[in-house]
Structures are given as C-alpha cells and as structure tokens.
C-alpha cells in the first residue's frame, strides 16, 4: 500500500455552499436524487446514499458560537432538532436561550473506515480496499445483495433503485490515482474539505482543534480521528462543533464485524445444539 490518503473535514469553516455535493455528482456522474423541499433548514439533500456521496447538513441552534453575536431576538419554545420538520411549526433547532443562534454546516461523506463493515460483509468482493487505504465498490462485481447497506454504521452506502447495485463515495479513486485531489475537496472554497496523507491530516486537525479551543470555541472536537474507536479510526474524519448525533452521525460507531468471532462461536454452538437436540429427540423410547 502506498501512503494512506483521506479527508479531514473541518466543519468550523464550512459555508454550506454545497459545491462539494455538486462537484462530486459532476465528476462521478451520480444521478439527481429527487426534488424535495424538506424544511430541514437549507438541507434539501437529506442524507448520504447511492445518489448522494457528499451531503451538507445544516443545523440551527439556540447556542452561542464562542463570542459570536447573532443579533436575533426571539423568545418562545422551539421544536427540538430531532423533530421531523413536516410536523413542526418551524425549522427544528437545538433548544437554548432565546436570542442565541448559531448555524452549523457540515459536509458528510463515506468514512473509509479502517475497519469497514461494508467491505467485511460484502459476499462478492465488490467492495475492496485500495492501495490508498480507501474503500471502493467495483460496480461490475456488485450483485446488489444489499448486505453492505445495513452493515455500515453510518448509513453511508445505499442501493440505487434502478440498477439495484450499491454505490458510495470512491474517494475519487480515478482522480487520486492520477495524483489529483478528489473533486469535492477541489471545489471546496474554504478548505473545509482537506485531502491528503492521513497522518498529516491528523496532525493538522489536532492543531486546529487547539486553536479553536484557545479562541473560545470550546465545543470543537474531532470525530473518528481516534484509531481506538469501533472502526479503528476513519479515513475521513471530522472536526465538529457539537455531538455527532446532532449532525446525524452515530456517537460511538462500531464495525459489527468486530464481534464476528463471537457470533460465529454462538452460531456453531447453536448449530451443534440443534444437531444434539435432533439426536436426543430420537434417543430413548419411541
């Protein structure tokens, strides 16, 4: 393997322009994903999936962003962020003190997990790990079994309705192979998406968190940068300004294949049990 490459997405500088979403679709010929006015702030993309490999989340919160002054003036209760917008009287938002307001934006993508459940469970070998340490689907091998889809702890990979196969971010395998930056990172005007060797990115990210914390942005933290976590660290990790679930990310994801040996043991025991029970059933008086 050559050097492991990945993304550091620094959401503290994301301006929600969605250039990453569009650039990804343009480069990879990802189909349109439907016109749906959602009422989820400015997010009409909703989630990652077969036809969306970059997704920018928009979160309105009654929370201060360090010393930022939002200038707005509101009282009254708000529907919590977790409320479905079509049933809410207004854009759901994290509750807090009226007059506080911050607007978080974050571009999400496949994490290219070190321990990638999708890849592990793929029965055909369509999902594979590249020389850059990324996780890619070979669409000519995929048979649409759909197993990778519930296996992913982030809900990243999805099935394309018309062709039944599974699709997700390739970390622009074709571009990085030619020494180019992935399309989304290239398009990102503020360098919210940073592409590079993972080790370097991790260092840069740690420094950035320290800077932000020093500047009073106490809630800046890294997500998936730690190689001890349930996926043994991601190839695409993030700087977040709130808990992961606020952004629709799992707080403590694990690749369930981690528990596979135990599961196989239980299955073997259970199978043996059935065989034993079967034999016992024939034992003794008829």
């Amino acid at each position: 393997m050559t050097q492991r490459m990945g993304f550091f997405t620094d959401t503290s500088v994301c301006i929600g322009c969605k250039a990453c979403e569009v650039a990804c679709k343009e480069w990879n010929h990802v189909p349109e994903d439907g016109l749906n006015f959602t009422g989820m702030s400015y997010d009409n993309t909703e989630q990652l999936g077969a036809d969306t490999w970059r997704h920018v989340a928009f979160i309105e919160q009654r929370k201060p962003l360090a010393e930022q002054e939002p200038g707005v003036d509101h009282e009254g209760p708000v529907p919590p962020l977790g409320a479905p917008p079509d049933a809410a009287p207004m854009t759901p938002m994290a509750p807090g003190e009226g007059g506080d307001l911050r607007w978080l934006m974050a571009s999400d993508v496949c994490k290219h997990c070190t321990k990638a459940a999708c890849l592990d469970v793929c029965p055909t070998g369509a999902l594979f790990r590249t020389e850059f340490g990324t996780v890619v689907v070979q669409s000519d091998v995929c048979n649409g079994c759909g197993y990778c889809i519930p296996a992913c702890p982030f809900g990243v990979i999805g099935q394309r309705e018309d062709d039944g196969r599974a699709w997700k971010c390739t970390l622009c395998y074709d571009r990085i192979g030619d020494g180019l930056e992935p399309a989304c990172a290239k398009a990102c005007p503020t360098d919210s998406i940073q592409y590079g060797p993972l080790d370097e990115l991790r260092e840069r990210a740690a420094a950035r968190v320290a800077t932000l914390n020093d500047a009073g942005v106490d809630d800046a933290r890294l997500y998936l940068a730690d190689t001890d976590d349930g996926i043994r660290g991601a190839g695409a990790f993030f700087l977040l300004l709130d808990d992961p679930e606020v952004y629709g990310l799992p707080p403590d994801p694990i690749a369930t294949t981690r528990d596979l040996p135990a599961m196989w043991r239980h299955a073997a025991l259970a199978a043996a049990g059935l065989l034993g029970a079967g034999l016992l059933a024939f034992a003794g008086r008829a």
Partner: protein, 852 residues
C-alpha cells in the same frame, strides 16, 4: 458574501484565521452571518442611517485619521455659500426643481467660481444631463470642478466640507440608528468600536458590498456613505482597506468597463449628447477634466475612434466622431421598456438576460415584450423571456391571449462560457482568460460569433449603399480572423484590438502611450497593456506561491496591472508608509521613484514634494500628494460637489414603499428618485399615509448559493435544482404566528402589482426588529424562480415596482412592502381580483406614491 461569492469568501475565511473580525450587516442571518463574528440585522433600506451613525460616531469622538484626511480628501475644501443642506431644508438639498423632481447641482460646487444665473436653456440641458446619467459617464473622476478651490487646513471654516459633514450627520446618533434601523445600541456601539479600533496607521478595515446596498432608490448614496466612512478612517488606497464592490455575473465588471450601458463608451468615456457636444473639440472641452488623468481624455477618445474606424478616422473628419450615436434621453433598460409599450422601440435583442423573470415588475417587462414587432432571444434554454407569449402569467390570468400577440420571437441557442474563449473581469478588476474547452453543440454559437457574423452580413448588404447614414457601418473595422469549423472569430484578436496598437502595428504597453494625433488605436484605454508585447497578459497563471503576496503575474488588472487603486495613499504625504505593518508603496528618494510590490497608481517619478506650475494640465497638474489621480482636484471626495444627481451627501430616505415614517426629514423619500407612471406599475401608500397599513411587512429579495439570478443557468440543472427545489419565503416564527403561516405550508404574498405564492420556511434566522418603537417583520424572498425549467415557481419580481436610483437607474428590489397570508394564491382572473381588492383597500390611485 458566503452566499453569492463563495469563492471570494475563502479570503475572508483566511483573514478570519489570521484574526480579522468579520461583521455582517444584513436583514437576514445568512451563511455569511454563520461565519461572521457579529451579525447585525438591519431593517432593509436603512443603511445610510446606519453608516451615517458610524460617521457621526467618528466625527463626534475624533476617531478620524486627521493626517490622511487633510492630505488626501477634500475635507478642507470650501463650498459655495448658496449650498443648503437637508438639515436646512428638511430633506432637500438646495437646487431642487420640484416640477422636474430633479436637482440643479450648481449650488453644491466648491466656492471660488461664479454661480451662473439659471436660464431656461441651461435647465433643459441640465435635465437631459441628469436623465441620461451624465454623472456616471464621468467615470470615477466625476465632472470638472470649476475654479480655484479654496481650502481651510484648520477644518474650522463653517463652509468647509468637514464642518458641513459634521452638521449633516449631527442627528445620526446611536439612538436614531436604533429607531430607524432597528439595530440595538449595544450592537451598534460594538460595530463603532470594532471599526474605529481597526483603522488608523497600523490597521485597516475593508468594506465589501454588493446589491444589498445598490438596489435601492438611494443605491449610489449608500456607497457614497461607505466612501465617506472609509475616507474618514483612512482606509482607501491602503492594503487591507477599500470598498469592494462584489460584482455580479461573472463578467459584470467587464461589461461596465466595455459597457453594455447606454450612456458610456468603453472605459467610462461619456457618450456624446445630441445637441450638446457638437464636434470632437467641443466634446472634449465639455467632458475632459483639466487636472488628473481625465485630462488626457482626448488621447483615449481619439485612440478609441481610431480603433473603430481605422484609416477612415482622420484629423480632418474629427476621427469620425460624428459617427458615434448621440444620446437623446434616458435609454436605460426600464425606460426602454416604456418605449416598447409606446411603440417606439420595435425590436429587441436579448443576449443573456431574462427580464420576464429577473427584472423588477416582471409583468411590466412582459407587457413591453408583447408590444414589440420582433424579439431575438439567445440563451441556453427556453427561458421565460422566450416563452411568455404562450405560457406566461398573463396567459393564465387571461390578460393576454397568444393569438393576439403579434411579436415575432426568434430563439437562438447560445454557447456557454466553456464553449468559447474570452476573458472575465472580476471584482478585483482582474482580467482572467479562459480557453475554449469544447466546441458548442448543434446550432449553439457564441455571442461573439453572432455579433460578428451579423455585422458581416449587414456590411455585405450595405456594400453598395451610397447613403451617408451607412458610412459608420461600412467603414467600421470589422476584420477579425475566424478559426475552427464554425467560423468563430478570434477572441484574442478582439483583445489585441482592445489593447491597442502603436505605429507599425506595435502592441501598446500602457495608456500612457496613447496619443490624440491618430497614431495610436485603443478599444478601451484602461485595458491598454493587457496585450503588451503581443502576449495575452490575462492568460497568465503563475500560482500565488511562486510569487509575492500581490501576485502581479496572475492575470492582469486594469489599469496597468494595478492591484490596489489610489495606492499612493498607502504612504504618508512625505512618501513614507503610514506604518511598517501596513507598508505598501514608498518614495525611493535615491532612485527618484515610487517603489513597492504593486504598480504605483501615480506618476512613477513624481516626488512627494512636487508642486505643479499653475498652468499645468492633466496628469502634470497633479502635485506629489494628489493621490486620487482620477479626480479633478486630486482629492477623494467626502462631499461630492458635482457628479451625483441626488445630492452631494447621503441622507437617510425611506424606501419608495416602507411601513415606517422618515424620522429625520419631512421629505421622507429620495426626492430625486425615478418613478415610472404606468397602470401596471402602481405604487403603494407609504410613509405612514393611509392605506400603508395594508402592506405592513418589509420584504427583501436576494440570492441563494444554489441558484443563479433569474434561474436560466440553475433551474434547468437537476444538480442545482435538487439543492433548492422550490420557491420559498423565509419568515420568523413570530410572523408565522401572527399570520397563521405554517412551516412547509404555503404563503400568498401580495403587493399593489401582483400576488404570488411560495412555500414557507419558518426560521429563527429571520428576526423581528423594533423600529420606531414598533415590532417590524421582514420577509425574505429568493428571486430565482419562474414558471419554466426543471424547478419552477412564482417569480418574486412580480411583486416589485419600478422606482429607481436616479444616478444609475437601478430598481429598488431590496426593500419593499407587502402583505402575507396563509395558503395558495388564487389562479386565473381571481388572482387579478385579489390584487385589485388590495388596491381598493389601500386606496391606490395613479398618484399614490408619486409624492416628492
């Protein structure tokens, strides 16, 4: 800026990372606010009050940069005795001619020249002049300032600009700002502190604006207010300072430089007038300044005429000056529509514009189109301006029937920017060349192709004509080489012509080389040098990291590849940088020239202590401290003694349609604003007049990052449509509760012109304001939608009216008044009925809103 200039915004983020404080003043909390340190929600249309408050704070607390002010601005200049301020006349400046709703600006002049007695004749000339935006035609320099300027360096003289400024802004206190703008004291005080603390010799503050400031009846004055602020603080001509006009369409700067404007020739040379400006000499006498670089106008003009008519242009025939068309009145776009309806303008070419959706009061636009004999639309898709005759809103309401419309409509497919070579000029005046990536498909052709071949065919038809009227076309230089399979004219050849040639066909290197003896040609004097040495300088792509921070080898900036205009002001009068931290240009006494990382915006060898002889003209008349070299007095203007048609100083006026009273003046709205009286352009009562309560909400229109302008380039694109799939309005939870509007439901929005519907987005990003003691709600409307395309919706511009800034004829779509109610709008004739009912309720007549 994050919304509409996301790529440019990376530099704001970079500055922020280095400790810059970002302040965002906007009615809405936008993506820009999200990244700013301070968001100041403001009532739309009250920026002059806000900026006036800042100016007041600076003057009151002595926070101005005195040395800079004295050296480089007209603070010390003394104004005529006849001048009266809005403070004296309750909202009017002296010289207002009521019947014409226009100013005679002569009383605004500096003291020192006789004020000619007004005569009937002069007045008419004057009216034509203001109508045709003569002022803008004077480019950045403004018109000649007459006479010997008197000054008072102590700034004590009661009629010196500084004292006038103090009096004018005396009432713009923080309390008044709070009352008018709805900006609480604490926020405003914080802005005052931040801006002043960050200005001075060691620091600079930059202001960026775009159409949130311009699209008002006080558009130009908004920018003037910013200019005053920046000059008081010494923030012009210095690194990190300035007023950055963030531009629009990728090449909108280019299209003002080499204009698509009716009253300008390339590079801000004024278009001659009918009746006035007889003959080149008289024209130059009238228009050229005696001091500064506008003093060289003859060289620019003659070179331009030579570029256009080549060998036919000779000294004997005034270089074909008479071939130029003459202005006969106001031919700005909205007035042209009026002419369409009057049957005067019979044919129309729409090249890259979608007025049926994108222009203010779209119905008025379509009415104009429907009165034409023929219409040519060149675009990528069948935009609303091409199909209104079969599926426009008037067809739905029954106001128009397709079979009655006699306009012949031609649709020609246009090539996109990727399909042709050419340059873009951006916000930084930077020309950047782009090469063709693919050939246009099918019948699509570039606009250059269209114009060139159209001209060629017309010239072929006229080849045998003896009519002298045809000479300007027959003798035109029209010889561009064509290339490729489609006969595409060479865009580089056009650029070379714009750059200009000297004797022997040498590519010129700078406008300093231009002559008025017919020996040089130049299509746009400020672009002279872009093709120096026969090299396309706009095509240079040396990355920033391979050169210094000014990066002179990336693209090419006009004029003369200067990156900061008026950069002489970055050094003190003696030629030393104001501070090490902000060093840029310095006078190198040993070498006898100005040095620094940028091209000096000053005669390069003029010493700081140079004083010109009294009879010097043009650039020679500039002293070593006249940093503002395009100005007729070499000074930056805190007070504009001429050149602006609605007053020498910005004053707070309410928008044409506003639910609030003017707290400061009896004349509540810009007295000189342009109004258009027409049945489809009825105005609402305003300024607290009876009926204004029928339209109690302020509405503003704007852009979303995901879409582009009237939508021709985004609503047809699935990848963009899915990001913002529907027309919506943004409102606060408080307004939603007040009007029973539900999140994700529908809203019906009504003005005196139209009724439209939009999905509802309720969000705390929209905040109510307290204005003059009352709770005020604002409604946000992105204006991208129309009824064609992949993502469709009503157009916000249906609501809008035409009341224009009198200087540049821009529409006031940033601050309007309307009503909003839950549910979808009525269809067909019922929609018209609803609007009529509103008009009845508000008592609207053809005189409503026309008051001075």
């Amino acid at each position: 800026m994050a919304e509409c200039h996301p790529v440019g915004f990376q530099w704001v983020m970079e500055a922020k990372a280095r400790g810059a404080v970002v302040i965002h003043v906007d009615p809405r909390f936008t993506r820009t606010s999200a990244l700013a340190d301070l968001h100041v929600p403001i009532r739309a249309g009250t920026d002059i009050a806000f900026l006036g408050g800042l100016i007041h704070y600076i003057l009151e607390n002595g926070e101005y940069f005195r040395e800079y002010l004295l050296a480089y601005t007209n603070a010390a200049s003394i104004v005529r005795e006849e001048f009266r301020d809005t403070e004296d006349l309750d909202g009017l400046f002296s010289g207002f001619i009521e019947e014409a709703r226009k100013y005679d600006p002569r009383s605004w002049q500096y003291a020192g020249s006789e004020m000619p007695a007004p005569s009937r004749e002069v007045d008419e000339e004057l009216l034509l002049m203001t109508e045709t935006a003569r002022v803008e035609a004077h480019g950045s320099g403004g018109p000649e300032v007459a006479g010997e300027i008197q000054t008072d360096e102590t700034l004590q003289h009661p009629r010196c600009v500084f004292q006038i400024l103090k009096r004018h802004f005396a009432r713009y206190t923080a309390e008044v700002v709070e009352q008018i703008c709805g900006v609480p004291r604490e926020s405003f005080d914080r802005v005052c502190r931040l801006v002043t603390e960050n200005s001075g010799p060691e620091r600079t503050t930059a202001i960026a604006y775009a159409v949130g400031w311009t699209q008002h009846t006080t558009g130009v004055q908004n920018i003037r207010a910013a200019a005053i602020l920046q000059l008081l603080l010494g923030n012009i001509g210095r690194p990190g300072g300035g007023i950055l006009a963030l531009r629009g369409h990728a090449n909108i700067q280019g299209s003002t430089d080499i204009p698509a404007l009716f009253d300008l020739l390339p590079a801000y040379i004024p278009m001659p007038h009918l009746g006035q400006n007889e003959g080149l000499a008289a024209y130059l006498e009238d228009e050229a300044a005696s001091k500064g670089y506008w003093g060289k106008m003859s060289t620019y003009m003659v070179s331009l005429l030579k570029a256009w008519w080549g060998e036919h242009a000779t000294a004997d025939n005034d270089y074909c000056f008479d071939y130029l068309p003459r202005l006969t009145g106001n031919h700005s776009t909205y007035h042209t529509v009026l002419k369409q309806m009057e049957g005067v303008c019979k044919g129309y070419l729409l090249l890259g514009e979608n007025p049926a959706t994108g222009s203010s009061n779209s119905r008025y636009q379509r009415m104009g189109l429907a009165a034409l004999d023929w219409l040519v639309v060149r675009d990528f898709s069948l935009i609303e301006s091409a199909t209104w005759w079969k599926d426009g809103p008037e067809i739905e309401t029954g106001e128009m029937r397709t079979e009655d419309i006699r306009t012949e409509v031609f649709f020609l497919p246009a090539a996109a920017h990727t399909e042709k070579s050419g340059s873009f000029t951006n916000t930084d005046r930077l020309l950047q060349w782009r090469d063709q990536a693919v050939e246009p498909a099918g019948d699509a052709r570039s606009d250059l192709w269209f114009v060139y071949h159209l001209g060629r065919l017309i010239r072929e038809r006229l080849a045998d004509s003896d009519d002298p009227m045809d000479l300007p076309i027959k003798q035109l230089t029209w010889d561009y080489p064509t290339e490729g399979t489609q006969g595409e004219p060479s865009a580089e050849a056009v650029l070379a012509e714009i750059n200009g040639f000297g004797p022997g066909g040498r590519h010129l290197g700078s406008y300093e080389e231009l002559r008025d003896d017919g020996s040089t040609t130049c299509g746009c004097w400020i672009y002279c040098g872009v093709y120096a040495d026969g090299v396309n300088q706009a095509r240079r792509r040396k990355p920033g990291w391979e050169q210094d921070h000014v990066a002179l080898e990336w693209g090419w900036a006009w004029p003369a590849n200067r990156r900061i205009l008026y950069n002489r002001a970055s050094a003190d009068p003696g030629g030393r940088p104001w501070s090490d931290r902000k060093a840029y240009l310095r006078w190198d006494a040993e070498r006898g020239r100005w040095t620094g990382p940028d091209t000096p915006d000053f005669p390069p060898t003029r010493a700081p202590d140079h004083r010109p002889p009294p009879d010097a003209k043009g650039p020679d008349a500039l002293s070593g401290t006249d940093a503002f070299i395009m100005q007729a007095d070499g000074k930056a203007w805190l007070y504009a003694p001429a050149g602006i048609v609605d007053g020498p100083l910005p004053a707070h006026y309410e928008p044409q349609e506003s639910p609030s009273d003017n707290l400061l003046y009896k004349y509540g709205r810009n007295p000189a604003r342009e109004l258009i009286e027409h049945p489809v352009n009825r105005y609402q009562p305003s300024d607290g007049k009876p009926g204004s309560e029928v339209f109690p909400y302020v509405t503003t229109t704007y852009r979303l990052t995901e879409h582009h302008t009237a939508g021709g380039m985004s609503r047809w694109v699935p990848y963009l449509s899915e990001l913002q799939p529907e027309f919506f309005c943004e409102i606060s939870p408080e307004l939603a509760a007040e009007r029973g509007l539900t999140h994700l439901g529908w809203a019906t929005i009504v003005s005196a012109r139209a009724v439209i519907e939009a999905r509802v987005l309720v969000t705390e990003r929209m905040t109510p304001l307290t204005v003059e003691g009352k709770r005020l709600h604002q409604i946000g409307l992105p204006y991208h939608w129309g009824n064609n395309g992949y993502s469709r919706g009503d157009s916000a511009n249906e609501l809008a009216h035409l009341s224009l800034d009198p200087n540049i004829h821009i529409q006031e779509v940033k601050a309007m008044a309307c009503d909003i109610r839950p549910g979808r709008r009525p269809r067909g004739p019922a929609a018209l009925e609803l609007v009529r009912e509103y008009r009845r309720r508000a008592g609207i007549t053809e005189r409503t809103g026309m008051e001075i």
